[in-house]
Symmetry: C2
Subunit: 380 residues, 2 copies
């Protein structure tokens, strides 16, 4: 293998695939990044077995020569050192040559690097995926859907299935659900190109979705999603992102969402967020995060928290609309703030079915998001 | 105590004094910030016994009413909660009232806070300082002197005196020295207003100097420094910053700086810095940080590092000037990078007295800075 390559392209690809490098891998070859050079260009691959990322650098891009290939070939290079040193090379021109025993020579400007390479034959082969079920979705929409649900996953490895986000697709309705048994987030998107495609119980690790989010460009991108038996493949531009589907059956969450409400409240999202944030500051010191919401007679709500050591915070908040029974309810303010952070609507609706029943939060202008928080059972 | 105060002023003062709050204090009252209200304004005090910071908020500032004082008085409020909640209050107008048992009521917009206050009589009295020895120095110069020396202090509590920066003043020459026995940094400034004032062996904790730096504004400020027996007081605008002087005698470092050199090298600071940074990347993986510098015949130097597992980095660097004996020397690249980060000159001079003797680094256009790094004794 012998090439000359532009630093900016190599660096961008390295940044993409390095998201699959785990520092805790027990398989030595997976601490490396694999380079495969053909006359078409260079393919970089990294994997931690749960996810694998592949990025392709074409020999030419918009009539510009990106890679000059003198001799094709492959090598696996130590990821951490490779990632950092390429970023810091002095010139945009990088020459790379693999000699015997996979010794790799990298030259840029007046810098010479000799790197101990590994045998690419030892590198695991990526899964081959049947491309029967392919959907396509705008990149920014997928990122939003991830952001609006992934914070509600469980972090406890004792229930692995809940560390993922559940995906269902039926009748062009693509739905994400995440829950840690104390709260739930769900988001639906309408697709226009998924006629006849349906799947259910596709659960993808939240950690994986966060990494995927970082790779999706913010604007004008589309992501193709291929769903297979135990793998999902995301195609983003020149990047292929493979993820394992979590084993197990996701619990049915539809029954815990109340359908009749006794108290309904519409408030300004930002004002509620600021009020709860102040009450949270105090509740955090008590390590309970308990904040209380109470409806008052004059169409306002009172948000409060108290700490035996520090004192009390009391907030008056005017409702845009308040109807139904009077209510006094306690909840985890951190959970509420997590929801308020991802709601994009200026106003939101909170619906209650009594002090012991789930709290339902929805943006007023968007019926596609739904959040649920279980209340605390407190004596006051 | 009953006042109405502008949030922006209160917040700025809180930010200043809170730098003296330690989360590890064993004295309960010192977890608080003391407020003293007179008809002139409000004084905030915080202390961790090593440092104490006082900030004054005047009742009026440039004809603007900052504090309306209805009733003077004092209280100590829990620092962490106070610091965070004031920042997040909804209105710029804050009312504060201390009632019986030091219960403190804070109101801003539609937010009501009740805070458990403590008795200000329990708060330690700040040291009174004889203002015999007062010098004045531009704030940005003091910040630079701190930055250019403090990184060389020792972090080992076994030699407490070396965790500080040594200050000497004689003949208007103000000198800072820091060393951890493996490296040394010194910086001199010429004062124009310190006639007849001299002191030596004034050692101030590096941690304290870092906190002080954060309080000094970047431009157009002057700092007055009062040196007393075991305390130093810094006056910055409306802030008083008290620091303990470390006990003990600072070692004499003058004899370890060589006066005759065998090899002298002038190089571009940025180019050297980038070369060493790349070599450092590899040396860091070996956890030794060892980098080698070698003079070549053609007026260039070679910077290199190697790792048995990963490979080798070799850098060619053209010297601006290179004279004297040929040399091959190994040193801690992290220490060298620390020096290169704070040198403001475009070129620097490195002087050697052989492979086993201290390396001396100076900016070429400024004889007021001097850095020393001890070499590694390696076999190759």
């Amino acid at each position: 293998m012998k090439i000359s390559i532009l630093k900016s392209y190599l660096n961008e690809s390295i940044q993409h695939v390095s998201k699959a490098i785990s520092s805790r891998t027990t398989i030595p070859i997976l601490t490396g990044i694999k380079l495969d050079v053909s006359f078409q260009g260079v393919t970089l691959t990294a994997s931690d077995t749960d996810i694998s990322i592949q990025s392709f650098i074409p020999a030419e891009d918009s009539d510009r020569t990106v890679v000059q290939i003198e001799q094709p070939g492959s090598v696996v290079l130590p990821a951490k050192f490779f990632v950092e040193i390429i970023k810091k090379l002095p010139s945009d021109e990088i020459e790379m040559e693999v000699k015997e025993g996979f010794q790799t020579f990298i030259r840029s400007g007046s810098t010479d690097i000799q790197m101990v390479g590994l045998d690419p034959e030892e590198y695991p082969v990526l899964p081959s995926i049947e491309e029967d079920q392919v959907i396509s979705i705008p990149g920014d929409l997928l990122k939003t859907m991830i952001k609006q649900t992934v914070f509600s996953i469980s972090t406890q490895e004792t229930t692995p299935i809940l560390t993922g986000v559940l995906w269902n697709l039926t009748d062009n309705e693509f739905k994400f659900v995440a829950t840690d048994r104390h709260r739930l987030a769900s988001r639906i998107a309408q697709l226009d190109n998924a006629d006849g495609i349906r799947f259910s119980n596709v659960v993808i690790s939240g950690k994986t979705l966060n990494e995927l989010s970082k790779i999706i460009p913010d604007q004008n991108s589309r992501v193709e999603i291929v769903v297979a038996d135990n793998q999902v493949l995301f195609k983003i531009d020149r990047v292929l992102f493979y993820s394992r589907i979590l084993d197990g059956t996701y619990p049915d969450t539809s029954r815990i969402i109340p359908t009749n409400y006794k108290t309904e409240l519409i408030v300004d999202t930002k004002k509620l967020s600021e009020s709860i944030d102040r009450a949270y500051l105090l509740s955090r010191e008590e390590k309970t995060n308990i904040v209380r919401l109470q409806t008052l007679e004059n169409g306002t709500v009172e948000i409060s928290s108290s700490s035996s050591e520090l004192g009390k915070v009391t907030e008056q908040l005017e409702a845009v609309e308040l109807k139904g029974e009077t209510l006094r309810i306690s909840f985890n303010s951190k959970y509420m703030l997590d929801v308020l952070k991802v709601i994009e609507s200026e106003q939101l609706q909170i619906s209650f079915t009594g002090a012991m029943s789930p709290i339902i939060i929805k943006p007023v202008d968007n019926s596609r998001c739904l959040y649920l928080i279980l209340p605390y059972r407190t004596t006051n």
